[in-house]
């Protein structure tokens, strides 16, 4: 299991190498990048703020839950960026390897979906005409 929270650019190639396993024929990965627009507004940049110790603890818990749900999981890699990001920058990568492909999709999706619900990381979007803490208000 390789879990990281970093203020440096995420190296996708390295992340995927960490997910490889000679006993696993299937690697599924999800990469979240910064889009140029959000709910119709043009995004200039993003700031990601994290509660570091809790974020790492929760990321590890999510990865462990996935390993319990899919015992055939071989490698689990989750790397989340923090700090200032621009359009096209990688915010998060999740990569998992399994012997068979259906489980690689299910486990990867479970991890990113759960991450987005429980990991204490906050995204502030900067538009040409203002800012928003994403999801903060109903």
């Amino acid at each position: 299991m390789h879990i990281d929270l970093t203020d440096q650019p995420i190296d996708i190639t390295v992340a995927l190498q960490l997910a490889e396993d000679d006993g696993a024929g299937a690697v599924n990965s999800f990469i979240g990048t910064v889009r140029n627009q959000s709910t119709g507004r043009r995004v200039v940049r993003l700031d990601y703020e994290a509660y570091d110790s809790m974020a790492l603890h929760q990321l590890r818990k999510v990865a462990e839950q996935a390993q319990e749900k899919w015992p055939m999981l071989r490698q689990v890699v989750v790397i989340h960026r923090k700090g200032t990001l621009h359009i096209g920058d990688v915010a998060v990568i999740v990569a998992v390897s399994t012997p068979h492909r259906a489980e690689s999709f299910a486990a990867c999706q479970y991890i990113i979906d759960t991450l987005k619900q429980v990991v204490p990381i906050w995204k502030k979007e900067f538009y040409e005409d203002g800012t928003t803490w994403v999801a903060a208000h109903p």
Partner: protein, 80 residues
Amino acid sequence: MKLTIALFGITREIVGRPTLELTTPDGHSVQNLLAELRQQYPALGKLSSLAVAVNNDYATDDTALHERDEIALIPPVSGG
């Protein structure tokens, strides 16, 4: 007892600083804490959700707080 509450994201902006110190009775619950904070900072009550973390895990309403706990307010997360 004295509690130190870490603030992140929009809660940090609402309160205007990264930590908050409160003096409360021993064994004060999460529910009590949230009620007090919402009274003191009404903008906290307008968030989509507001959780409390104790020692890096989500606490429930009836979790009792202690002086050495690492306590944080968790506004709606938006990682990923």
